[in-house]
């Protein structure tokens, strides 16, 4: 009995050492659960496209005041507008995220090997909203002559906060779990963006014309959501038949 306890102690210590060694040098957070079956069968796949609109009087964009940091101010000759609400013609709404929120069952998808890039440029985020996959590599770049701190505020992932001076190499991170994460820079309070993390590839961020495209969707019944940082979430149910192309319209009301 006594020897067994000793074995356990050795085991515990060894496991701790191994786990610690495993954790050292990488901040990539370990995903819970398993990944498998990356083969996407696109035969018979459907396409879901459409438009996101904003109904009602068109909002007036607010001007950003960068006076707190002369380095930011100097980079712009024209006024910089808030990207919170951006619209095109006929109420087309930019920067809405359209995605499958339910219906994929227990299908799992391995993340792409190529990284996504979130750039700090002109003391704003480029893009304003970044879509990426869980466990995909995120590269955060600073193209500005001033120091930013990149500070995501997740609910289901670990929160981190890193300072990034000018000329430094990109920060590499990743998120283990699905969620839409607000990102801010505490040095420059007007800097606000979002990183949308999905565990599947069926998401799109609307461009200035409000349109979106979800391709290679396996036939099935889905819940489709559209998220906008100011106007919230809209939901529609849709059934996609084999090889079908369907269009959807989402309308936010002011």
């Amino acid at each position: 009995m006594r020897t067994r306890i000793n074995y356990l102690q050795i085991g515990v210590t060894a496991a701790l050492v191994l786990l610690t060694a495993h954790g050292a040098g990488t901040r990539t957070l370990r995903a819970i659960g398993t990944s498998s079956e990356a083969r996407e069968d696109t035969s018979g796949a459907a396409t879901l496209s459409g438009i996101v609109k904003l109904e009602g009087s068109q909002p007036v964009a607010t001007r950003i005041n960068m006076a707190a940091d002369p380095a930011c101010l100097k980079m712009h000759s024209a006024p910089v507008m808030s990207e919170e609400v951006a619209t095109g013609t006929n109420g087309a709404l930019k920067d809405a995220i359209v995605y499958i929120s339910d219906g994929l069952g227990n299908r799992t998808f391995d993340p792409p090997t190529e990284p996504v890039v979130f750039e700090q440029k002109g003391c704003t985020y480029n893009p304003h909203i970044l879509g990426m996959r869980a466990r995909q590599t995120l590269k955060v770049a600073n193209s500005d002559p001033t120091t930013h701190n990149i500070h995501p505020a997740p609910q289901n992932n670990r929160e981190w906060n890193l300072s990034q001076p000018p000329g430094s190499s990109p920060i590499e991170e990743s998120f283990a779990r699905e969620e839409i994460i607000p990102v801010k820079c505490n040095v420059h309070p007007w800097m606000k963006g979002y990183i949308a993390v999905f565990k599947h590839p069926y998401f799109a961020i609307t461009s200035k014309d409000g349109t979106f495209d979800l391709r290679n969707v396996p036939p099935g019944e889905y819940t489709i959501e559209t998220w906008h940082e100011k106007y919230g979430v809209l939901t529609q149910k849709v059934t996609l038949e084999t090889n079908q192309t369907r269009t959807l319209e989402f309308v936010f009301k002011r």
Binding site: R27, N161, L162, H188
Partner: protein, 278 residues
Amino acid sequence: MKHNRMRAHFAGILVLLFAGVGQVTFAQESHIGGLTGEASRGKKLYRRYCVGCHGPLGDGRGENAPWIDPKPRDFVTGTFKCRSTPTGALPTDEDLYKSVTRGFVNSNMPSWLPLTRQQRADLVAYVKTFSSSFREEKPPSPLSMPSESAANQQSIQSGNELYQKMNCWSCHGKEGRGDGPSAQTLVDNRGYPIPPYDFSVGTRFKCGESNQDLYRILMTGLDGTPMPSFANGLTPAQAWDVVHYIRTLQMNVKRKKQTAENEKKDGGESKPVGAQPE
């Protein structure tokens, strides 16, 4: 032969541990030096000393919480300010033990030094059970800290330049009084306003008072607050320079205060308030 069997036995235990059996044990215990804290004992202590502020669920919503500023820590998210580990990582048991022992300045969290070492270790073990993070992840090894460089004029000058370059002044202010242009906009991870540290108030920081503690705050950041980690932007030598410069900010402020007081004493009532120095 016997040796081989032992190895097989050992491997078997390892497999068991990785299968998750051991993880439960880890989460219920804390290890501080030679001390092993037990969550079951910690729970009784927590119910007695901590529950009023941190709440029965450890979510920082105890019955006293509404009247407390800053708000009690929410243990469920597993986000902690004072760590020796990189930003985004869990704290070590030792980090939590130090926080319980030291308490937090400018907050309602007292030092729990009156409790025994064993009791504090037990509390750490119990606090860890509130967050699933401690079952799912392990804290990485602490950030390495090379020994402190000399606090000479050159180091202070370099620290001053870095304080400007790294935009420390945006929040902490040009003179370190916590009055930078972004100071008023800062909130913590629960949306409560949080003022940047005012270096003129004293020598003690949130996570300790030594130069080592200051170095650690700079390089690990204070997770859950606007204070970032500078581990990506500063070399260890540069971080020591910033530490040395910040110490002069504290001293400058002290000296100015003293001078002002002396002037008041010397000049008596003849000097009008706010008079320009000759």
